[in-house]
Protein backbone atom coordinates (compact mmCIF):
# COMPACT_ATOMS: atom_id res chain seq x y z
CA UNK A 1 0.00 0.00 0.00
CA UNK A 2 1.46 3.34 -1.03
CA UNK A 3 -0.93 6.13 -0.23
CA UNK A 4 0.59 9.54 0.25
CA UNK A 5 -2.43 11.11 1.95
CA UNK A 6 -2.64 8.27 4.45
CA UNK A 7 1.08 8.42 5.18
CA UNK A 8 1.21 12.18 5.66
CA UNK A 9 -1.85 12.19 7.90
CA UNK A 10 -0.48 9.31 9.97
CA UNK A 11 2.79 11.18 10.38
CA UNK A 12 0.89 14.18 11.70
CA UNK A 13 -1.59 12.32 13.87
CA UNK A 14 0.62 9.73 15.61
CA UNK A 15 2.45 12.22 17.86
CA UNK A 16 -0.85 13.74 18.95
CA UNK A 17 -2.29 10.36 19.88
CA UNK A 18 0.84 9.57 21.83
CA UNK A 19 0.85 12.87 23.70
CA UNK A 20 -2.80 12.31 24.55
CA UNK A 21 -1.93 8.83 25.80
CA UNK A 22 0.79 10.26 28.04
CA UNK A 23 -1.69 12.86 29.29
CA UNK A 24 -4.19 10.16 30.21
CA UNK A 25 -1.51 8.10 31.98
CA UNK A 26 -0.24 11.04 34.03
CA UNK A 27 -3.75 12.13 35.02
CA UNK A 28 -4.74 8.63 36.08
CA UNK A 29 -5.20 9.65 39.71
CA UNK A 30 -7.22 12.77 38.88
CA UNK A 31 -9.58 11.93 36.05
CA UNK A 32 -11.08 8.84 34.39
CA UNK A 33 -8.49 6.73 32.62
CA UNK A 34 -5.04 5.84 33.81
CA UNK A 35 -2.30 3.40 32.96
CA UNK A 36 -4.41 0.97 31.01
CA UNK A 37 -6.35 3.41 28.83
CA UNK A 38 -3.36 5.64 28.20
CA UNK A 39 -1.15 2.68 27.41
CA UNK A 40 -3.81 1.38 25.03
CA UNK A 41 -3.80 4.74 23.24
CA UNK A 42 -0.04 4.69 22.78
CA UNK A 43 -0.25 1.10 21.61
CA UNK A 44 -2.96 2.03 19.14
CA UNK A 45 -0.84 4.81 17.68
CA UNK A 46 1.92 2.27 17.00
CA UNK A 47 -0.62 -0.12 15.48
CA UNK A 48 -1.76 2.68 13.16
CA UNK A 49 1.85 3.24 12.20
CA UNK A 50 2.27 -0.47 11.46
CA UNK A 51 -0.89 -0.56 9.35
CA UNK A 52 0.19 2.35 7.21
CA UNK A 53 3.95 1.83 6.88
CA UNK A 54 4.15 -1.97 7.17
CA UNK A 55 5.68 -4.25 9.76
CA UNK A 56 9.27 -3.80 8.61
CA UNK A 57 9.38 -0.10 9.29
CA UNK A 58 7.43 -0.50 12.51
CA UNK A 59 9.96 -3.07 13.70
CA UNK A 60 12.69 -0.49 13.21
CA UNK A 61 10.80 1.97 15.39
CA UNK A 62 9.78 -0.56 18.00
CA UNK A 63 11.72 -3.80 17.77
CA UNK A 64 10.87 -7.07 19.48
CA UNK A 65 13.75 -6.65 21.88
CA UNK A 66 12.56 -3.21 22.95
CA UNK A 67 9.05 -4.59 23.38
CA UNK A 68 10.34 -7.41 25.55
CA UNK A 69 12.45 -5.15 27.73
CA UNK A 70 9.79 -2.48 28.15
CA UNK A 71 7.16 -5.12 28.86
CA UNK A 72 9.26 -6.50 31.68
CA UNK A 73 10.28 -3.04 32.86
CA UNK A 74 6.67 -1.93 33.21
CA UNK A 75 5.89 -4.58 35.79
CA UNK A 76 9.28 -4.29 37.41
CA UNK A 77 8.52 -0.61 38.14
CA UNK A 78 5.24 -1.66 39.73
CA UNK A 79 6.90 -4.38 41.82
CA UNK A 80 9.74 -2.10 42.94
CA UNK A 81 7.31 0.61 44.05
CA UNK A 82 5.42 -2.07 45.94
CA UNK A 83 8.62 -3.27 47.58
CA UNK A 84 9.39 0.26 48.76
CA UNK A 85 6.11 0.12 50.65
CA UNK A 86 6.98 -3.30 51.97
CA UNK A 87 10.33 -2.18 53.32
CA UNK A 88 9.27 1.17 54.76
CA UNK A 89 5.80 0.41 56.11
CA UNK A 90 5.69 -3.34 56.45
CA UNK A 91 3.12 -4.06 53.79
CA UNK A 92 3.30 -4.47 50.02
CA UNK A 93 2.05 -1.44 48.02
CA UNK A 94 1.70 0.86 51.03
CA UNK A 95 1.22 4.38 49.77
CA UNK A 96 1.29 7.48 51.99
CA UNK A 97 2.36 5.69 55.17
CA UNK A 98 5.54 4.54 53.45
CA UNK A 99 6.62 8.14 52.91
CA UNK A 100 5.41 8.83 49.38
CA UNK A 101 4.51 12.54 49.29
CA UNK A 102 0.76 13.02 49.44
CA UNK A 103 0.76 16.43 47.77
CA UNK A 104 -2.32 18.62 47.45
CA UNK A 105 -5.37 16.66 46.40
CA UNK A 106 -6.44 17.50 42.85
CA UNK A 107 -3.05 18.62 41.57
CA UNK A 108 -0.80 16.67 39.26
CA UNK A 109 1.82 16.02 41.95
CA UNK A 110 -0.33 14.15 44.43
CA UNK A 111 -1.53 10.70 45.47
CA UNK A 112 1.94 9.43 46.38
CA UNK A 113 2.99 6.40 44.36
CA UNK A 114 -0.12 6.11 42.16
CA UNK A 115 1.33 8.15 39.23
CA UNK A 116 4.54 6.10 39.28
CA UNK A 117 2.55 2.88 39.16
CA UNK A 118 0.41 4.28 36.37
CA UNK A 119 3.52 4.97 34.29
CA UNK A 120 4.61 1.36 34.79
CA UNK A 121 1.23 0.03 33.73
CA UNK A 122 1.17 2.37 30.74
CA UNK A 123 4.55 1.11 29.47
CA UNK A 124 3.45 -2.48 29.93
CA UNK A 125 0.11 -2.11 28.18
CA UNK A 126 1.54 -0.18 25.23
CA UNK A 127 4.30 -2.70 24.61
CA UNK A 128 1.94 -5.65 25.05
CA UNK A 129 -0.55 -4.26 22.53
CA UNK A 130 2.07 -3.66 19.91
CA UNK A 131 3.68 -7.07 20.49
CA UNK A 132 0.33 -8.81 20.14
CA UNK A 133 -0.42 -6.97 16.92
CA UNK A 134 3.00 -7.69 15.42
CA UNK A 135 2.68 -11.35 16.32
CA UNK A 136 -0.73 -11.60 14.67
CA UNK A 137 0.45 -9.83 11.53
CA UNK A 138 3.49 -12.06 11.18
CA UNK A 139 1.48 -15.24 11.67
CA UNK A 140 -0.55 -14.30 8.61
CA UNK A 141 2.53 -13.76 6.46
CA UNK A 142 3.87 -17.18 7.37
Amino acid sequence: MNDTILKSITRIIVPFIQVYGVFIILHGHLSPGGGFSGGALIGTSLILFTLVFGVKKAKVKFSERVAEISGSAGIIIYVLVGIVGLVLAGSFLTNIEAGFPAGVAGTLMSAGMIPIIMIGIGIKVASTMITLFHTLVEEEVR
Binding site: E68, S72, V79, S91, F92, E97
Partner: protein
Protein backbone atom coordinates in the same frame (compact mmCIF):
# COMPACT_ATOMS: atom_id res chain seq x y z
CA UNK B 1 9.66 -10.84 58.74
CA UNK B 2 7.74 -14.10 58.57
CA UNK B 3 4.57 -12.17 57.83
CA UNK B 4 6.18 -10.95 54.61
CA UNK B 5 6.99 -14.42 53.29
CA UNK B 6 3.79 -14.97 51.29
CA UNK B 7 4.23 -11.77 49.31
CA UNK B 8 7.93 -12.46 48.91
CA UNK B 9 7.03 -15.86 47.43
CA UNK B 10 4.70 -14.23 44.94
CA UNK B 11 7.21 -11.52 44.04
CA UNK B 12 10.02 -14.02 43.56
CA UNK B 13 7.91 -16.02 41.12
CA UNK B 14 6.70 -12.94 39.26
CA UNK B 15 10.17 -11.39 39.28
CA UNK B 16 11.75 -14.47 37.76
CA UNK B 17 9.17 -14.44 34.98
CA UNK B 18 10.10 -10.82 34.30
CA UNK B 19 13.84 -11.30 34.43
CA UNK B 20 14.13 -14.30 32.08
CA UNK B 21 13.37 -12.28 28.92
CA UNK B 22 16.03 -9.73 29.87
CA UNK B 23 18.69 -12.45 29.99
CA UNK B 24 18.27 -13.51 26.40
CA UNK B 25 21.75 -12.72 25.14
CA UNK B 26 23.43 -14.45 28.03
CA UNK B 27 23.90 -18.22 28.15
CA UNK B 28 20.64 -19.91 28.93
CA UNK B 29 22.22 -22.00 31.67
CA UNK B 30 22.32 -18.89 33.85
CA UNK B 31 18.57 -18.41 33.81
CA UNK B 32 18.00 -22.14 34.38
CA UNK B 33 20.13 -21.99 37.52
CA UNK B 34 18.41 -18.82 38.63
CA UNK B 35 14.99 -20.43 38.19
CA UNK B 36 16.13 -23.43 40.20
CA UNK B 37 17.34 -21.23 43.05
CA UNK B 38 14.10 -19.27 43.04
CA UNK B 39 12.00 -22.44 43.16
CA UNK B 40 14.13 -23.77 45.98
CA UNK B 41 13.75 -20.53 47.93
CA UNK B 42 10.02 -20.55 47.41
CA UNK B 43 9.82 -24.15 48.59
CA UNK B 44 11.89 -23.41 51.70
CA UNK B 45 9.87 -20.34 52.57
CA UNK B 46 6.59 -22.24 52.03
CA UNK B 47 7.77 -24.98 54.37
CA UNK B 48 8.76 -22.30 56.86
CA UNK B 49 5.31 -20.73 56.59
CA UNK B 50 3.65 -24.11 57.08
CA UNK B 51 5.65 -24.77 60.25
CA UNK B 52 4.90 -21.27 61.52
CA UNK B 53 1.17 -21.62 60.81
CA UNK B 54 0.92 -25.04 62.42
CA UNK B 55 2.62 -23.71 65.51
CA UNK B 56 1.18 -20.22 65.96
CA UNK B 57 -2.02 -20.34 63.93
CA UNK B 58 -3.24 -18.47 60.89
CA UNK B 59 -2.43 -14.87 60.02
CA UNK B 60 -3.63 -12.27 57.54
CA UNK B 61 -1.70 -10.12 55.14
CA UNK B 62 -3.18 -6.79 54.15
CA UNK B 63 -1.97 -5.05 51.00
CA UNK B 64 -1.09 -1.42 51.54
CA UNK B 65 -2.20 -1.64 55.19
CA UNK B 66 -5.84 -1.26 54.15
CA UNK B 67 -8.33 -3.20 56.23
CA UNK B 68 -10.25 -5.98 54.51
CA UNK B 69 -13.38 -3.90 53.98
CA UNK B 70 -11.71 -1.94 51.19
CA UNK B 71 -8.39 -3.66 50.68
CA UNK B 72 -6.99 -6.92 49.39
CA UNK B 73 -6.38 -9.63 51.92
CA UNK B 74 -4.31 -12.81 51.97
CA UNK B 75 -5.12 -15.51 54.48
CA UNK B 76 -2.26 -17.81 55.35
CA UNK B 77 -3.57 -20.76 57.29
CA UNK B 78 -2.86 -24.48 57.35
CA UNK B 79 -4.95 -24.94 54.18
CA UNK B 80 -3.09 -22.50 51.95
CA UNK B 81 0.33 -23.11 53.48
CA UNK B 82 0.08 -26.87 53.10
CA UNK B 83 -1.00 -26.80 49.48
CA UNK B 84 1.60 -24.22 48.53
CA UNK B 85 4.26 -26.56 49.90
CA UNK B 86 2.80 -29.38 47.81
CA UNK B 87 2.74 -27.25 44.67
CA UNK B 88 6.25 -25.90 45.17
CA UNK B 89 7.73 -29.34 45.84
CA UNK B 90 6.04 -31.02 42.89
CA UNK B 91 6.92 -28.20 40.52
CA UNK B 92 10.55 -28.32 41.64
CA UNK B 93 10.74 -31.99 40.67
CA UNK B 94 8.98 -31.44 37.35
CA UNK B 95 11.18 -28.42 36.67
CA UNK B 96 14.38 -30.45 37.10
CA UNK B 97 13.01 -32.96 34.62
CA UNK B 98 12.22 -30.25 32.12
CA UNK B 99 15.87 -29.16 31.83
CA UNK B 100 16.75 -31.80 29.29
CA UNK B 101 13.37 -32.49 27.78
CA UNK B 102 13.88 -29.84 25.14
CA UNK B 103 13.35 -31.95 22.09
CA UNK B 104 9.76 -32.69 22.75
CA UNK B 105 8.29 -30.34 20.25
CA UNK B 106 9.24 -27.05 21.86
CA UNK B 107 11.34 -24.93 19.54
CA UNK B 108 14.58 -23.63 21.01
CA UNK B 109 13.37 -20.07 20.66
CA UNK B 110 10.30 -20.87 22.73
CA UNK B 111 12.21 -22.60 25.49
CA UNK B 112 12.84 -19.46 27.50
CA UNK B 113 9.23 -18.42 27.05
CA UNK B 114 8.14 -21.77 28.44
CA UNK B 115 9.76 -20.92 31.75
CA UNK B 116 8.24 -17.45 31.77
CA UNK B 117 4.82 -19.06 31.43
CA UNK B 118 5.65 -21.67 34.04
CA UNK B 119 6.57 -19.03 36.59
CA UNK B 120 3.51 -16.88 35.91
CA UNK B 121 1.43 -20.04 36.26
CA UNK B 122 3.02 -20.77 39.63
CA UNK B 123 2.51 -17.15 40.66
CA UNK B 124 -1.21 -17.40 39.96
CA UNK B 125 -1.49 -20.74 41.78
CA UNK B 126 0.08 -19.24 44.89
CA UNK B 127 -2.20 -16.25 44.52
CA UNK B 128 -5.33 -18.40 44.33
CA UNK B 129 -4.31 -20.37 47.40
CA UNK B 130 -3.44 -17.35 49.53
CA UNK B 131 -6.21 -15.04 48.37
CA UNK B 132 -9.07 -14.40 50.74
CA UNK B 133 -11.12 -12.42 48.31
CA UNK B 134 -13.61 -13.59 45.67
CA UNK B 135 -12.60 -11.11 42.98
CA UNK B 136 -8.87 -11.56 43.40
CA UNK B 137 -9.40 -15.27 43.13
CA UNK B 138 -11.10 -14.56 39.81
CA UNK B 139 -8.15 -12.48 38.61
CA UNK B 140 -5.67 -15.20 39.52
CA UNK B 141 -7.93 -17.87 37.96
CA UNK B 142 -7.89 -15.88 34.73
CA UNK B 143 -4.08 -15.66 34.76
CA UNK B 144 -3.91 -19.38 35.48
CA UNK B 145 -6.19 -20.37 32.61
CA UNK B 146 -4.41 -18.15 30.08
CA UNK B 147 -0.96 -19.43 31.05
CA UNK B 148 -2.09 -23.04 31.10
CA UNK B 149 -3.55 -22.57 27.64
CA UNK B 150 -0.22 -21.17 26.53
CA UNK B 151 1.84 -24.03 27.91
CA UNK B 152 -0.45 -26.44 26.08
CA UNK B 153 -0.11 -24.66 22.75
CA UNK B 154 3.62 -24.03 22.95
CA UNK B 155 4.27 -26.90 20.56
CA UNK B 156 3.64 -25.53 17.09
CA UNK B 157 1.45 -28.36 15.88
CA UNK B 158 -2.06 -28.52 14.55
CA UNK B 159 -3.45 -30.80 17.25
CA UNK B 160 -2.09 -28.67 20.06
CA UNK B 161 -3.72 -25.61 18.55
CA UNK B 162 -7.08 -27.40 18.33
CA UNK B 163 -6.78 -28.65 21.89
CA UNK B 164 -5.69 -25.26 23.19
CA UNK B 165 -8.51 -23.51 21.35
CA UNK B 166 -11.08 -25.84 22.85
CA UNK B 167 -9.47 -25.36 26.24
CA UNK B 168 -9.50 -21.61 26.03
CA UNK B 169 -13.12 -21.45 24.86
CA UNK B 170 -14.47 -23.67 27.63
CA UNK B 171 -12.29 -21.99 30.22
CA UNK B 172 -13.49 -18.54 29.20
CA UNK B 173 -17.09 -19.70 29.62
CA UNK B 174 -16.10 -21.05 33.02
CA UNK B 175 -14.36 -17.83 34.06
CA UNK B 176 -17.30 -15.75 33.00
CA UNK B 177 -19.80 -17.87 34.89
CA UNK B 178 -17.60 -17.70 37.99
CA UNK B 179 -17.48 -13.91 37.61
CA UNK B 180 -21.26 -13.76 37.22
CA UNK B 181 -21.61 -15.72 40.44
CA UNK B 182 -19.26 -13.30 42.19
CA UNK B 183 -21.33 -10.39 40.88
CA UNK B 184 -24.55 -11.92 42.20
CA UNK B 185 -22.96 -12.46 45.60
CA UNK B 186 -21.67 -8.90 45.61
CA UNK B 187 -25.13 -7.65 44.71
CA UNK B 188 -26.72 -9.07 47.85
CA UNK B 189 -23.88 -8.83 50.35
CA UNK B 190 -21.89 -5.82 49.20
CA UNK B 191 -18.62 -7.53 50.04
CA UNK B 192 -15.97 -9.53 48.22
CA UNK B 193 -13.92 -10.64 51.19
CA UNK B 194 -14.63 -14.30 51.92
CA UNK B 195 -15.22 -13.87 55.63
CA UNK B 196 -17.40 -10.81 55.29
CA UNK B 197 -19.43 -12.50 52.56
CA UNK B 198 -19.82 -15.58 54.73
CA UNK B 199 -21.05 -13.66 57.77
CA UNK B 200 -23.55 -11.61 55.81
CA UNK B 201 -24.78 -14.66 53.90
CA UNK B 202 -25.53 -16.42 57.17
CA UNK B 203 -28.06 -13.77 58.10
CA UNK B 204 -29.61 -12.93 54.74
CA UNK B 205 -29.74 -16.19 52.82
CA UNK B 206 -33.44 -16.93 53.43
CA UNK B 207 -34.27 -13.51 51.96
CA UNK B 208 -32.35 -13.86 48.72
CA UNK B 209 -32.62 -17.57 48.05
CA UNK B 210 -32.97 -17.19 44.25
CA UNK B 211 -29.84 -15.08 44.01
CA UNK B 212 -27.87 -17.54 46.05
CA UNK B 213 -29.07 -20.56 44.10
CA UNK B 214 -28.11 -18.92 40.81
CA UNK B 215 -24.80 -17.70 42.19
CA UNK B 216 -23.85 -21.05 43.64
CA UNK B 217 -24.86 -22.76 40.39
CA UNK B 218 -22.77 -20.46 38.22
CA UNK B 219 -19.78 -20.59 40.52
CA UNK B 220 -19.73 -24.36 40.94
CA UNK B 221 -20.21 -24.95 37.23
CA UNK B 222 -17.53 -22.42 36.40
CA UNK B 223 -15.02 -24.01 38.73
CA UNK B 224 -16.31 -27.45 37.73
CA UNK B 225 -15.48 -26.91 34.06
CA UNK B 226 -11.97 -25.85 34.98
CA UNK B 227 -11.55 -28.76 37.38
CA UNK B 228 -12.82 -31.21 34.72
CA UNK B 229 -15.57 -32.63 36.92
CA UNK B 230 -17.23 -35.38 34.91
CA UNK B 231 -19.71 -33.96 32.40
CA UNK B 232 -17.46 -30.94 31.83
CA UNK B 233 -14.29 -32.92 31.20
CA UNK B 234 -14.29 -32.90 27.40
CA UNK B 235 -11.40 -30.46 27.04
CA UNK B 236 -9.05 -32.36 29.35
CA UNK B 237 -7.89 -35.48 27.44
CA UNK B 238 -7.03 -33.56 24.27
CA UNK B 239 -5.24 -30.83 26.12
CA UNK B 240 -3.24 -33.20 28.29
CA UNK B 241 -2.43 -35.56 25.45
CA UNK B 242 -1.02 -33.01 23.04
CA UNK B 243 0.87 -30.80 25.48
CA UNK B 244 4.57 -31.42 26.22
CA UNK B 245 5.04 -34.01 28.99
CA UNK B 246 6.11 -31.49 31.59
CA UNK B 247 3.03 -29.38 30.86
CA UNK B 248 0.81 -32.44 31.10
CA UNK B 249 2.32 -33.31 34.46
CA UNK B 250 1.79 -29.79 35.77
CA UNK B 251 -1.73 -29.48 34.38
CA UNK B 252 -2.89 -32.88 35.50
CA UNK B 253 -1.03 -33.01 38.77
CA UNK B 254 -1.48 -29.47 40.00
CA UNK B 255 -3.60 -27.05 38.00
CA UNK B 256 -6.79 -29.12 37.98
CA UNK B 257 -6.47 -29.64 41.76
CA UNK B 258 -6.20 -25.92 42.38
CA UNK B 259 -9.68 -25.40 40.96
CA UNK B 260 -10.99 -28.17 43.19
CA UNK B 261 -9.46 -26.32 46.14
CA UNK B 262 -11.22 -23.14 45.01
CA UNK B 263 -14.46 -25.12 45.04
CA UNK B 264 -13.69 -26.36 48.55
CA UNK B 265 -13.04 -22.80 49.67
CA UNK B 266 -16.32 -21.62 48.16
CA UNK B 267 -18.45 -24.38 49.61
CA UNK B 268 -16.92 -24.50 53.06
CA UNK B 269 -15.82 -20.94 53.68
CA UNK B 270 -18.27 -18.80 51.73
CA UNK B 271 -21.58 -20.61 51.59
CA UNK B 272 -21.24 -22.74 54.68
CA UNK B 273 -22.84 -26.00 55.67
CA UNK B 274 -26.34 -24.61 56.16
CA UNK B 275 -26.79 -23.41 52.56
CA UNK B 276 -24.97 -26.40 51.10
CA UNK B 277 -27.31 -28.79 52.88
CA UNK B 278 -30.43 -26.82 52.00
CA UNK B 279 -29.52 -26.97 48.30
CA UNK B 280 -28.62 -30.70 48.27
CA UNK B 281 -25.21 -29.95 46.78
CA UNK B 282 -24.00 -33.05 48.57
CA UNK B 283 -25.98 -35.35 46.29
CA UNK B 284 -25.04 -33.48 43.13
CA UNK B 285 -21.37 -33.83 43.96
CA UNK B 286 -21.65 -37.47 45.00
CA UNK B 287 -23.43 -38.41 41.77
CA UNK B 288 -21.12 -36.39 39.53
CA UNK B 289 -18.09 -37.79 41.33
CA UNK B 290 -19.15 -41.39 40.98
CA UNK B 291 -20.24 -40.87 37.37
CA UNK B 292 -16.78 -39.46 36.68
CA UNK B 293 -15.09 -42.41 38.38
CA UNK B 294 -16.91 -44.93 36.21
CA UNK B 295 -17.12 -43.05 32.90
CA UNK B 296 -13.55 -41.72 33.03
CA UNK B 297 -12.25 -45.25 33.42
CA UNK B 298 -14.50 -46.59 30.65
CA UNK B 299 -13.31 -43.89 28.26
CA UNK B 300 -9.72 -44.60 29.26
CA UNK B 301 -10.06 -48.27 28.30
CA UNK B 302 -10.92 -47.30 24.74
CA UNK B 303 -7.83 -45.14 24.19
CA UNK B 304 -4.90 -46.11 21.99
CA UNK B 305 -2.64 -43.19 22.86
CA UNK B 306 -1.01 -43.49 26.25
CA UNK B 307 -1.21 -39.80 27.13
CA UNK B 308 -4.90 -39.59 26.22
CA UNK B 309 -5.44 -42.61 28.41
CA UNK B 310 -3.71 -40.86 31.29
CA UNK B 311 -5.92 -37.83 30.64
CA UNK B 312 -9.11 -39.86 30.94
CA UNK B 313 -7.68 -41.54 34.01
CA UNK B 314 -7.34 -38.06 35.52
CA UNK B 315 -11.07 -37.55 34.96
CA UNK B 316 -11.72 -40.73 36.94
CA UNK B 317 -9.36 -39.74 39.74
CA UNK B 318 -10.95 -36.30 40.00
CA UNK B 319 -14.18 -38.21 40.53
CA UNK B 320 -12.68 -39.75 43.67
CA UNK B 321 -11.72 -36.33 44.99
CA UNK B 322 -15.16 -34.88 44.28
CA UNK B 323 -16.77 -37.89 45.94
CA UNK B 324 -14.64 -37.35 49.03
CA UNK B 325 -15.51 -33.65 49.18
CA UNK B 326 -19.18 -34.40 48.46
CA UNK B 327 -19.49 -36.43 51.63
CA UNK B 328 -19.07 -33.15 53.58
CA UNK B 329 -17.58 -35.02 56.53
CA UNK B 330 -14.14 -34.55 58.02
CA UNK B 331 -13.08 -38.06 57.04
CA UNK B 332 -14.26 -37.54 53.49
CA UNK B 333 -12.38 -34.29 53.15
CA UNK B 334 -9.23 -35.83 54.62
CA UNK B 335 -9.43 -38.65 52.09
CA UNK B 336 -10.01 -36.16 49.27
CA UNK B 337 -7.04 -34.01 50.29
CA UNK B 338 -4.81 -37.04 50.63
CA UNK B 339 -5.89 -38.12 47.18
CA UNK B 340 -5.11 -34.67 45.80
CA UNK B 341 -1.55 -35.13 47.02
CA UNK B 342 -1.12 -38.76 46.04
CA UNK B 343 -2.77 -38.34 42.65
CA UNK B 344 -0.59 -35.32 41.99
CA UNK B 345 2.54 -37.36 42.66
CA UNK B 346 1.36 -40.45 40.80
CA UNK B 347 0.15 -38.57 37.74
CA UNK B 348 3.38 -36.57 37.58
CA UNK B 349 5.33 -39.83 37.79
CA UNK B 350 3.23 -41.41 35.04
CA UNK B 351 3.39 -38.45 32.67
CA UNK B 352 7.11 -37.90 33.21
CA UNK B 353 8.03 -41.56 32.76
CA UNK B 354 5.97 -41.64 29.58
CA UNK B 355 7.78 -38.45 28.68
CA UNK B 356 11.15 -40.19 29.05
CA UNK B 357 9.92 -42.95 26.75
CA UNK B 358 8.68 -40.42 24.22
CA UNK B 359 11.98 -38.54 24.47
CA UNK B 360 13.98 -41.66 23.76
CA UNK B 361 11.76 -43.83 21.56
CA UNK B 362 9.45 -41.23 19.98
CA UNK B 363 6.45 -43.49 20.45
CA UNK B 364 3.19 -42.63 22.09
CA UNK B 365 0.82 -45.43 21.06
CA UNK B 366 -0.02 -48.19 23.50
CA UNK B 367 0.96 -50.97 21.11
CA UNK B 368 4.52 -49.63 20.89
CA UNK B 369 4.99 -50.23 24.59
CA UNK B 370 5.48 -53.94 24.05
CA UNK B 371 8.74 -55.09 25.58
CA UNK B 372 9.82 -51.58 26.38
CA UNK B 373 10.53 -52.64 29.97
CA UNK B 374 13.70 -54.38 28.78
CA UNK B 375 14.99 -51.30 27.06
CA UNK B 376 13.99 -48.68 29.56
CA UNK B 377 13.85 -50.48 32.91
CA UNK B 378 14.00 -47.44 35.19
CA UNK B 379 11.30 -45.31 33.62
CA UNK B 380 9.03 -48.29 33.05
CA UNK B 381 9.43 -49.31 36.71
CA UNK B 382 8.39 -45.86 37.82
CA UNK B 383 5.49 -46.05 35.40
CA UNK B 384 4.48 -49.38 36.92
CA UNK B 385 4.58 -47.93 40.42
CA UNK B 386 2.37 -45.09 39.27
CA UNK B 387 -0.01 -47.55 37.63
CA UNK B 388 -0.14 -49.71 40.75
CA UNK B 389 -0.87 -46.60 42.78
CA UNK B 390 -3.68 -45.58 40.44
CA UNK B 391 -5.25 -49.01 40.80
CA UNK B 392 -4.84 -48.85 44.56
CA UNK B 393 -2.52 -51.76 45.34
CA UNK B 394 -1.29 -51.77 48.97
CA UNK B 395 2.13 -50.21 49.68
CA UNK B 396 1.40 -47.34 47.31
CA UNK B 397 -0.09 -43.98 48.21
CA UNK B 398 -3.10 -44.68 45.99
CA UNK B 399 -4.12 -47.50 48.30
CA UNK B 400 -4.11 -45.24 51.34
CA UNK B 401 -6.30 -42.64 49.70
CA UNK B 402 -8.79 -45.21 48.43
CA UNK B 403 -8.81 -46.96 51.79
CA UNK B 404 -9.51 -43.69 53.59
CA UNK B 405 -12.20 -42.83 51.07
CA UNK B 406 -13.84 -46.22 51.56
CA UNK B 407 -13.86 -45.78 55.32
CA UNK B 408 -15.29 -42.26 54.96
CA UNK B 409 -18.05 -43.60 52.72
CA UNK B 410 -18.90 -46.35 55.24
CA UNK B 411 -18.92 -43.80 58.06
CA UNK B 412 -21.43 -41.72 56.13
CA UNK B 413 -23.65 -44.78 55.63
CA UNK B 414 -23.47 -44.65 51.86
CA UNK B 415 -22.50 -48.23 51.07
CA UNK B 416 -23.60 -47.85 47.45
CA UNK B 417 -20.66 -45.56 46.76
CA UNK B 418 -18.25 -48.12 48.20
CA UNK B 419 -19.34 -50.46 45.42
CA UNK B 420 -18.60 -47.74 42.88
CA UNK B 421 -15.15 -47.14 44.36
CA UNK B 422 -14.32 -50.84 44.09
CA UNK B 423 -15.79 -51.07 40.60
CA UNK B 424 -13.77 -48.09 39.44
CA UNK B 425 -10.63 -49.62 40.94
CA UNK B 426 -11.27 -52.78 38.91
CA UNK B 427 -11.77 -50.71 35.77
CA UNK B 428 -8.41 -49.06 36.47
CA UNK B 429 -6.86 -52.53 36.43
CA UNK B 430 -8.32 -53.11 32.98
CA UNK B 431 -6.43 -50.26 31.38
CA UNK B 432 -3.28 -49.92 33.47
CA UNK B 433 -2.19 -53.53 33.79
CA UNK B 434 -2.03 -54.47 30.10
CA UNK B 435 0.60 -51.77 29.58
CA UNK B 436 2.73 -53.00 32.46
CA UNK B 437 2.30 -56.62 31.41
CA UNK B 438 3.13 -56.02 27.78
CA UNK B 439 6.13 -53.91 28.74
CA UNK B 440 7.67 -56.43 31.12
CA UNK B 441 6.12 -59.84 30.89
CA UNK B 442 5.69 -60.55 27.17
CA UNK B 443 7.95 -63.52 26.55
CA UNK B 444 9.83 -62.26 23.59
CA UNK B 445 13.32 -63.56 22.86
CA UNK B 446 14.26 -60.66 20.62
CA UNK B 447 13.43 -58.15 23.26
CA UNK B 448 15.64 -59.80 25.84
CA UNK B 449 18.64 -59.69 23.53
CA UNK B 450 18.57 -55.92 23.43
CA UNK B 451 20.87 -54.63 26.15
CA UNK B 452 19.28 -52.11 28.46
CA UNK B 453 20.26 -48.92 26.85
CA UNK B 454 18.60 -46.18 28.77
CA UNK B 455 20.42 -43.33 27.13
CA UNK B 456 18.50 -40.74 29.01
CA UNK B 457 20.20 -37.88 30.85
CA UNK B 458 20.42 -38.43 34.59
CA UNK B 459 18.68 -35.15 35.24
CA UNK B 460 15.54 -36.68 33.73
CA UNK B 461 15.82 -39.95 35.63
CA UNK B 462 16.42 -38.49 39.09
CA UNK B 463 13.07 -36.62 39.19
CA UNK B 464 11.03 -39.62 38.13
CA UNK B 465 12.89 -41.82 40.62
CA UNK B 466 12.12 -39.28 43.34
CA UNK B 467 8.45 -39.41 42.42
CA UNK B 468 8.49 -43.22 42.38
CA UNK B 469 10.07 -43.30 45.83
CA UNK B 470 7.56 -40.72 47.07
CA UNK B 471 4.66 -42.95 45.98
CA UNK B 472 5.99 -45.86 48.02
CA UNK B 473 7.00 -43.74 51.03
CA UNK B 474 3.54 -42.18 51.21
CA UNK B 475 2.06 -45.66 50.90
CA UNK B 476 4.15 -46.96 53.78
CA UNK B 477 4.06 -43.91 56.06
CA UNK B 478 0.88 -41.99 55.23
CA UNK B 479 1.01 -40.28 58.61
CA UNK B 480 3.87 -38.12 57.34
CA UNK B 481 1.29 -35.89 55.72
CA UNK B 482 -1.95 -37.24 57.18
CA UNK B 483 -1.29 -35.42 60.47
CA UNK B 484 -0.97 -32.13 58.64
CA UNK B 485 -4.05 -32.88 56.54
CA UNK B 486 -6.06 -33.41 59.74
CA UNK B 487 -5.21 -29.90 60.90
CA UNK B 488 -5.84 -28.55 57.38
CA UNK B 489 -9.32 -30.04 57.38
CA UNK B 490 -9.91 -28.69 60.89
CA UNK B 491 -9.60 -25.13 59.50
CA UNK B 492 -12.52 -25.72 57.16
CA UNK B 493 -15.09 -26.94 59.69
Amino acid sequence: MIEQLPIINLLLLLGTALIIPLFKKRPFQLSLTLCFLVLLTVLVSSVFLLIHVLEYGEFYYHFGNHENLIGIEFLIDAFSAFFTVFVAALVLVIYLYSWKDKTEGIENKEFGRYYILLFILLFSIFGILYSNDLFNTYVFIEILSITSCAIISIKRKKETYTAAFRYVMLNEIASMSYLLGVALIYMITGHLNLERVATSLQSIWPLYSTNIIIAIGFMTIGVGIKAAIFPFHIWLPDAHATAPSTSSAILSGIVVKIYILVLVKLLFRVFGMEIVEALHIKWIMLILGSAGMIMGSIFAIAQKDVKRMLGYSSVAQIGYIILGIGLFTEAGLQAAFFHIISHGIMKAALFLSVGVIIYYKHVQKLKDFEGIGYQMPISMTVFSFGALGMVGIPLTSGFISKFNLGIAVIDANLIFFLIIIILSGLLNVVYYFPIVISAFLKDNKEMQKIPHIEKVPNIMLIPILTLGVAIVVLGLFPNLIMDIIVSVVATLF
